[in-house]
């Protein structure tokens, strides 16, 4: 049984790395094999699925779909285009900031897809390195997503299963994320100054940038956006974040808050946005992928494979600092090359196991933050490390910008190494403080 469970998971991981077959089919086929070979009964398989995570993601997908329809991103993009006055540095900083903050509350892959078209249309006319901008946006969406429970799927998995609140995520991750963001922005500016320097002393560049900004403005003006929909969506997003912050006081699970947000917003805007259209935009394939993955991890747990991994990692527990570093760097570097969602799904029960073995050790909660920081920030290492990276590269291709594995790696890997170093320093300070 243990061999079947481990082999199924490993084959699934290999297929996910090479992207030969759709990820949902891989996860569901693996789950089905485990049931057919009686590693898990049907009841056990269903019980392995964490429905709180699924409902949270489902609710947030409604919110994301409505945000897309509301035109709020078109409005924000235009404001940024105007405010930048065509300065490449301002374009880079403002779009990176928008991506960062939007990714803290919305799916970061969706955020990247909504921002890239406008950012690229400005960048191409300004002489700003378009590849750099695309890679930068993908990276800042991952960094922003790392800050909150709902920003990135690995965090959602950790938060829901470990019972960590939205507030705890922000309280524990704000310092390293702010530090990482500042250092990475500085790194980008220092290494790309030639394409980011101001254009206010160059008439041809000023002219072209002004022309492009005007085009973005008239295209936006033609969209006839509904102010009520935009205002309601903004309010709903704000209320959702507030509800997540006060989740312990409200005594509601994050899944309930996520679903409530999605359903109430759909109800209020039911006359403006067709619900059937929203249903179609939910990423059902991703939800089924999670379900399949939960079943596969459930099987590994049942056959004792996770305990073995936990025992191996806990063998470092003679030195707690080394254990933390193994998690943050091991998960971080692994996440650069393989999908971080199954990796985190696999590691959550392992961390629980390690915690039970290290009863009495102070700072045990740091294991979760090491996992979150490693899992999310590691995704920046390569083109295949995160869904936002993959989608950003696909979106850029539509604009004739081809970004190779090495193009991304040259920027992404140093950023990952810097991020993991900062994360490690933060964890060390927490251990010794």
């Amino acid at each position: 049984m243990i061999a079947i469970a481990v082999a199924t998971f490993l084959v699934s991981m290999i297929l996910l790395i090479f992207d030969w077959i759709d990820k949902t089919i891989i996860a569901l086929t693996g789950a089905l094999i485990l049931i057919l070979f009686k590693v898990l009964t049907w009841q056990e398989a269903i019980q392995s699925i964490d429905f709180e995570t699924i409902t949270l993601l489902l609710g947030l997908m409604f919110v994301v779909a409505i945000s897309q329809h509301s035109g709020i991103f078109s409005w924000l993009n235009v404001q940024i285009a105007k405010k930048s006055k065509g300065s490449p540095l301002a374009v880079f900083l403002l779009f990176s900031a928008l991506t960062f903050f939007a990714s803290t509350v919305l799916n970061n892959a969706t955020v990247v897809l909504l921002i890239i078209p406008v950012a690229l249309s400005l960048a191409s006319g300004l002489g700003l390195n378009s590849k750099l901008l695309v890679i930068g946006l993908a990276i800042f969406s991952n960094i922003g997503g790392t800050l909150t429970l709902i920003g990135d799927p690995p965090n959602t998995l950790i938060g829901v299963q470990a019972g960590l609140s939205f507030g705890e995520f922000v309280m524990n991750l704000a310092i390293p994320i702010v530090a990482i963001t500042i250092i990475i922005v500085g790194y980008f500016i220092a290494t790309n100054w030639s394409s980011l320097r101001p254009i206010s002393k160059n008439i041809p560049k000023l002219f072209v940038s002004n022309m492009i900004i005007q085009r973005i403005c008239y295209q936006y003006a033609a969209k006839k956006l509904d102010k009520f929909v935009i205002a309601t969506t903004c309010l709903a997003l704000f209320a959702t974040v507030v509800a997540f912050v006060f989740q312990p006081q409200l005594a509601l699970s994050v899944g309930v808050i996520g679903m409530a947000s999605g359903i109430f917003l759909s109800l209020i805007l039911s006359k403006k946005i067709q619900f059937l259209g929203l249903i179609k935009e939910v990423e059902w394939d991703s939800l089924l992928f999670f379900a399949g993955l939960f079943i596969q991890v459930g099987a590994l747990e049942k056959v004792g494979a996770l305990s073995m991994i936990a025992n191996f990692i806990a063998s470092f527990s003679g030195n707690y600092v080394v254990l933390l570093m193994v998690i943050v760097w091991g998960i971080g570097l692994a996440s650069s090359f393989i999908n971080n969602i199954p990796l985190i799904a696999l590691m959550i029960p392992v961390i629980f196991d390690i915690q039970s073995k290290l009863q009495g050790q102070p700072h045990l909660d740091l294991l979760w933050w090491a996992l979150a920081l490693g899992g999310c920030l590691g995704g920046n290492g390569t083109i295949i490390g995160s869904s936002s990276g993959i989608l950003a590269i696909d979106a850029a291709k539509k604009y004739g910008i081809k970004i190779s594995f090495m193009d991304f790696f040259k920027v992404g890997m140093p950023v990952t190494l810097i991020s993991l170093t900062v994360a490690s320093i933060y964890l060390l300070i927490r251990v010794y403080s």
């Binding site: 002393k201 008439i203 085009r215």
Partner: protein, 312 residues
């Protein structure tokens, strides 16, 4: 620069592009952070040089920017500060905008005279002048209907939106199905970006086949273009194409068809294949326009030498 111009021309037409160029040249001068007048002139010249070399060259934009450059150069000696330069530039641009409006209004007036009750007018181009003619004729109480030939989706949408908002009766027919209703149409109104020295109009993509069809059926074709849009240099016959390889997923099967889809941004229409050309000077037959072009081409020999360095 070429891509930016091409995109804006596709969205707003050549006149819309020109107006944006006017506004943005002034705005760029205001945003310019250097106080050295000499440096500003160098960069303005560089900008105008870039505009002259866009592909395709937009005749009317080149004409007006060259005019602006000539006037700015003449006044250069009296400018002490950048403030003086910007104020003068703003003044010159204002004059040019007025000039453009006067020409466009004349074109509209001539066009309105051509519209009669019971007319069934075919439009295809994304031409602001043609739309303004229809609007004014409708406001004057003329009873006609419009047939919109469906071309590029965005351009057709704009035409539809314009007619719909002004309650002008219209029908939309796909461009490749026009033969079925050509007997219902008695006039064709089209707009052009320019007239080249090989006596071809540069028009929206698809116009060429519309002209060929209606020329053969002897239904009068009216082409609207101001003479300032004439390209006063030699043009090689080129097409401006965008090649895109698209992946198309057919229905819900796993088969993915990959094929090359080539798009052409503009068409070329022979001057002789239209019946009438309407300029700010009035209604002319192609032969007269040919003569008008030749005279203007000869008149601009010196201008070509000054603005294109080599005689083109």
């Amino acid at each position: 620069m070429s891509e930016v111009f091409l995109n804006i021309e596709a969205d707003l037409g050549t006149t819309g592009l020109l107006m944006l160029v006017f506004d943005m040249i002034v705005k760029s001068a205001k945003d310019y952070k250097v106080q050295d007048v000499e440096k500003f002139y160098d960069q303005l010249q560089e900008l105008i040089c870039m505009v002259k070399n866009t592909k395709p060259r937009i005749g009317i934009v080149i004409y007006y920017l060259s005019e602006i450059w000539d006037q700015m150069r003449k006044q250069k000696a009296k400018f002490k500060t950048m403030g003086n330069v910007v104020a003068a530039l703003e003044e010159i641009v204002k004059e040019k905008i007025k000039e453009t409006e006067v020409d466009a209004n004349r074109l509209v007036e001539y066009g309105v005279d051509l519209v009669e009750d019971e007319d069934s007018i075919l439009v295809q181009s994304h031409s602001k002048v043609v739309l303004r003619i229809l609007e004014k004729a409708w406001q004057q109480g003329k009873k006609f209907r419009v047939v919109v030939a469906e071309q590029e989706l965005e351009k057709t949408k704009d035409n539809i939106q314009f007619l719909y908002e002004r309650k002008i009766p219209f029908t939309v027919v796909p461009e490749f199905m026009l033969s079925h209703i050509e007997h219902e149409i008695n006039k064709v109104f089209l707009g052009a970006l320019t007239l080249n020295n090989n006596y071809c109009f540069v028009t929206d993509a698809g116009t060429s086949s519309v002209v060929a069809e209606f020329h053969q059926e002897r239904i009068p074709i009216y082409m609207f273009v101001v003479t300032k849009k004439f390209s006063l240099w030699e043009n090689p016959i080129t097409h401006h194409t965008y090649k895109t390889v698209q992946k198309k997923i057919e229905k819900r099967t796993k088969d993915i068809l990959t094929y090359e889809r080539i798009k052409f941004s503009h068409d070329r229409v022979n001057l002789d294949s239209v019946d009438w050309v309407i300029t700010e000077k009035g209604k002319s037959i192609p032969k007269a326009v040919r003569k008008m072009y030749q005279e203007k081409f000869a008149e601009y020999q010196e201008w070509r030498k000054n603005h294109f360095c080599i005689e083109m």
